[in-house]
């Protein structure tokens, strides 16, 4: 077979079919990744608008822009949106698109489950926002502390929508995590031993394990809340043997790992970009990986530091304070690795690198204030003030957003095939960076001066007016900066310079294939003999795995009947195991997601009949999903 026939056959095997099946039933991980990216950006925009409304209300004392009720709804939806509908799905977007590419695979381990995750995410997002149509927007904070959120104190269906919606959404995250893990276990290119797995893939492994162990807590907690509201159960009712603190334990046992689920891929993006632009391999790769894995482990022992003022025994708070300080160590390892990589290399300051520097700076500041609030005596002073708001926004709106944007600037050419405008990218960086610091910098002082969180206004003459004004101006600048980033991406789709396969001189596999990535990812299954395969001395030399002239077509895995054929490996050595045919497009994931959405709607409607009918629908769609293809028993 000639090379062009091979490519044409591969394309025919892997391209989505035309029409509705290709659009709604696609199982292409790149398509899923792109959809995640766009949907997460839409939710970032919505959550950002909510933030701007909040800041506009706080522009001066008694500004009167929002009613207290609206303010409560906005900060609840802002938190829920940014944590669950923006940050986690944005990490999923990069993981979906780039995890298979980074490990040299053509597909995810469970292609249909992958599309299912996306549909569930979209349905859950719409479900949470549909609350606005019925005038029942959740208003109990994204943390929804009981007993405030019980039926007696929060009537209406707002918190039912929150409780059912987050459980529904958790399904998508959990399915995604299983998919990422099995993809890394089984789909790595032959020869990609454990010590050759790219750092970003490692970060996804770390967060996927965290998701599997942390999210059950956020399934049980909100279900208990919903059962308390709808069925009058007594988990959080201290007059009937319940305990309101149970909610806080369940919430933060998930909520604290969640912060690292967002942060780790973001720091891993920095660990990916810095070596490329410093033109030097990452210093202390194994320490960075060990640092990420130990952060994942330690993050399960931190949750009580959100509860230092709830009256827990001192021995408990002391333990959790000590663990909170210990988590600094693995973060610092990553930091020193970045500094050493830049110091030993010759850095080049392109836009992805600029965003990485922003990430480092904001991570450093947010981490330093994190050490402060990790100390029990200081936390007891700062708790529920704007100091805490400033602290976690430096990490989440700062480090996480800047890391993700660095990844966007670095990888967009691979997704779209076109370069972003470099000068425009730098302008948008500085606008965002200044806006971010102007918004949240002053809030440290406001917090220290006693301004409380979650309060819809403040009185005149407390000395808070000027700093609040600056903070509000900063939030507009911040928003403008992120809009500039989006504008740059949209502009590049039409007018950007063609990127070519490897615009940055990267060392990982994804840069060895054309941009945008062809439907089959790699024309030949890559064989990996180095941690940065493209930087190996013998890459693309005759007879090497990357040899472009290699006439040997055996690694192309051209399927005679146009199936999705992939190559499996096994074990820490990624020894070769054999080929396997993966599932093609199907409508079943979409309909299963819709059936589960119907269960969620029925639960909020509190109709047992409707819930039972919807459950029958879930079973029916799942049977359809697993029913063997035509011609098989």
């Amino acid at each position: 077979m000639s090379a062009t026939t091979t490519l044409r056959r591969l394309e025919a095997s892997w391209e989505d079919p035309p029409g509705l099946l290709g659009f709604l039933g696609s199982v292409d991980h790149k398509r899923v990744g792109r959809r995640y990216l766009v949907t997460a950006a839409v939710f970032l925009f919505i959550g950002g608008l909510e933030a701007l409304l909040i800041r506009t209300q706080l522009i001066g004392p008694a500004a009167g822009v929002l009613t207290p009720e609206q303010y409560n709804q906005l900060f609840t939806m802002h938190g829920t949106t940014m944590m669950l509908l923006f940050a986690v799905p944005a990490e999923s977007a990069f993981a979906n698109y780039f995890l298979p590419l980074l490990v040299g695979a053509r597909d995810m381990a469970f292609p249909r489950l992958n599309m299912f995750s996306y549909w569930v995410f979209v349905c859950a997002g719409i479900f949470l926002y549909a609350s606005a149509l019925f005038g029942a927007v959740p208003d109990g904070g994204w943390f929804a502390y009981a007993p405030l959120t019980l039926e007696a104190f929060s009537p209406g269906r707002g918190l039912d929508i929150y409780a059912v919606g987050v459980v529904f959404l958790g399904l998508s995250t959990t399915a995604g995590a299983i998919n990422f893990l099995v993809t890394t276990f089984k789909m790595r290119a032959p020869g990609m031993t454990v010590s050759r797995i790219p750092v970003f893939a490692w970060s996804i492994v770390a967060i996927a394990f965290m998701i599997l162990l942390a999210f059950p807590s956020f399934t049980v907690g909100p279900l208990m809340l919903e059962f308390s509201r709808a069925l009058d159960m007594k988990f959080f009712d201290s007059s009937a043997g319940g305990d309101p603190l149970l909610w806080q334990h369940l919430f933060w046992f998930w909520g604290h790992p969640l912060v690292y689920i967002q942060l780790l891929p973001s720091t891993a993006i920095v660990s990916t970009i810095i070596p490329v632009f410093s033109r030097r391999r990452l210093v202390a790769y194994s320490w960075v990986v060990a640092g990420m894995l130990s952060t994942a482990f330690i993050s399960f022992g931190l949750w009580v530091h959100h509860m230092f003022v709830t009256g827990l025994p001192q021995v408990t708070t002391s333990f959790f304070s000590a663990v909170s300080l210990a988590v600094v160590i693995p973060s610092a390892i990553q930091f020193f690795s970045w500094i050493a990589t830049m110091g030993l290399g010759t850095p080049r300051w392109d836009s992805p690198m600029m965003w990485c520097m922003g990430e480092m700076f904001l991570f450093l500041l947010g981490g330093a204030t994190g050490v402060m609030v990790g100390l029990v005596p200081f936390d007891q002073l700062a708790h529920d003030t704007y100091f805490v708001v400033a602290h976690f926004h430096y990490l989440l709106a700062g480090a996480v957003v800047f890391g993700l944007t660095a990844g966007l600037h670095y990888w967009a050419p691979k997704i779209t095939g076109r370069l972003l405008d470099e000068r425009f990218a730098k302008v948008s960086f500085w606008v965002t960076f200044v806006g971010m610091n102007l918004t949240f910098g002053p809030q440290h002082l406001l917090g220290l001066w006693g301004m409380a969180r979650r309060t819809f206004t403040y009185e005149q003459g407390l000395g808070w007016d000027a700093l609040n004004l600056w903070s509000t101006i900063g939030s507009y600048v911040f928003g403008l900066g992120l809009l500039l980033v989006a504008a740059n991406v949209v502009w590049s789709l039409r007018a950007g310079e063609p990127a070519g396969p490897d615009p940055w001189g990267g060392g990982t596999l994804e840069w060895s294939t054309p941009s945008p990535t062809p439907p089959y990812n790699y024309a030949r299954i890559p064989v990996v003999t180095d941690r940065d395969p493209l930087w190996a001395a013998d890459w693309a030399t005759p007879g090497s795995p990357g040899d472009p002239e290699d006439p040997d077509d055996d690694l192309a895995l051209v399927s005679s009947d146009l199936h999705h054929e992939v190559y499996l490996t096994a074990g820490p050595e990624a020894g070769s195991e054999g080929t396997r045919v993966m599932a093609g497009p199907s409508f079943a994931p979409l309909f299963t997601a819709l059936a589960i959405a119907a269960v969620a709607v029925a639960m909020v409607a509190r109709s047992p009949v409707f819930v039972s009918m919807a459950l029958v629908g879930v079973v029916a769609t799942a049977v359809w999903w697993f029913w063997p293809a035509e011609g098989r028993p």
Binding site: A109, F110, L113, T174, A177, I178, L181, V182, F185, K186, P190, G191, L212, L213, P216, S217, V220, L223, M224, F227, S228, L231, D232, M233, K234, F235, D237, A240, G241, G242, D243, L246, H249, L250, F253, I525, V527, T529, P545, D552, D554, L555, L557, Y567, L568, T569, A570, G571, E573, A574, G575, S576, E577, G578, T579, R580, V623, P628, R632, P633
Partner: protein, 206 residues
């Protein structure tokens, strides 16, 4: 095709290996997160217990052990029957696979039927889920587990239908093996649920 690929990868120094199928890892990880779900539920159970002087609360008898013990033995023995079904399939004895799967469904069906009996006729006479936190936990955890058993029955009936249509054989055991991982997990979880919710309140309660 695959042999040719193996030859190329061996040429680059990559050893040939045999590993577990994709579906195996998927269901193992599902079992991990499902087990965590029950860990969280049982930790909540013990947390609320630790904050009460009397558990179960006054006026509620600790759960009885004889019937629940028999139910437990029946449920756990289905782990053995499904293992026998798998073994039959691997040996090419599809008749044995069918029979042992039917036995599994029967055992699971008995467990679920007695579960429904407990919650429709027995428990409501003593307490409701809305009476106290103990009642809320009791209803929630046991019905969570009951729902897992129900899902298992659906899976095995699905497998029986496919078996009857001629699917599966010595070379096609993966769906059967992976489904049984889920089933063993549901059984193993029951050991902890029964110990925490039936046995321990009898030993330590009051």
């Amino acid at each position: 095709m695959s042999d040719a690929v193996d030859a190329v990868t061996r040429g680059h120094g990559v050893p040939a290996t045999r590993g577990r199928p994709i579906a195996f890892w998927g269901v193992v990880l599902l079992a991990v997160t499902e087990s965590m779900l029950f860990v969280v539920l049982l930790v909540s159970w013990f947390y609320l217990w630790s904050r009460e002087s009397q558990w179960p609360p006054a006026g509620v008898e600790p759960p009885e052990l004889v019937v629940s013990g028999i139910r437990s033995v029946v449920l756990l023995s289905t782990s053995a029957t499904i293992w026998l079904a798998e073994r039959g399939l691997r040996r090419g004895d599809r008749r044995a696979a069918w029979n042992w799967t039917v036995a599994t469904v029967a055992g699971a069906g008995f467990f679920l039927a007695t579960h429904v009996r407990e919650f429709v006729w027995q428990v409501p006479r003593e307490f409701l889920w809305s009476d106290h936190a103990y009642g809320s936990m009791y209803w929630t955890i046991l019905n969570f587990h009951g729902a897992h058993v129900a899902v298992g029955i659906i899976i095995w009936v699905f497998m029986l239908v496919r078996l009857g249509r001629g699917a599966f054989g010595p070379d096609d055991t993966v769906p059967f093996e992976t489904a049984s991982i889920y089933w063993h997990a549901v059984d193993a979880i029951w050991v902890f649920v029964w110990t925490s919710m039936y046995l321990l309140p009898n030993l330590l309660g009051g």
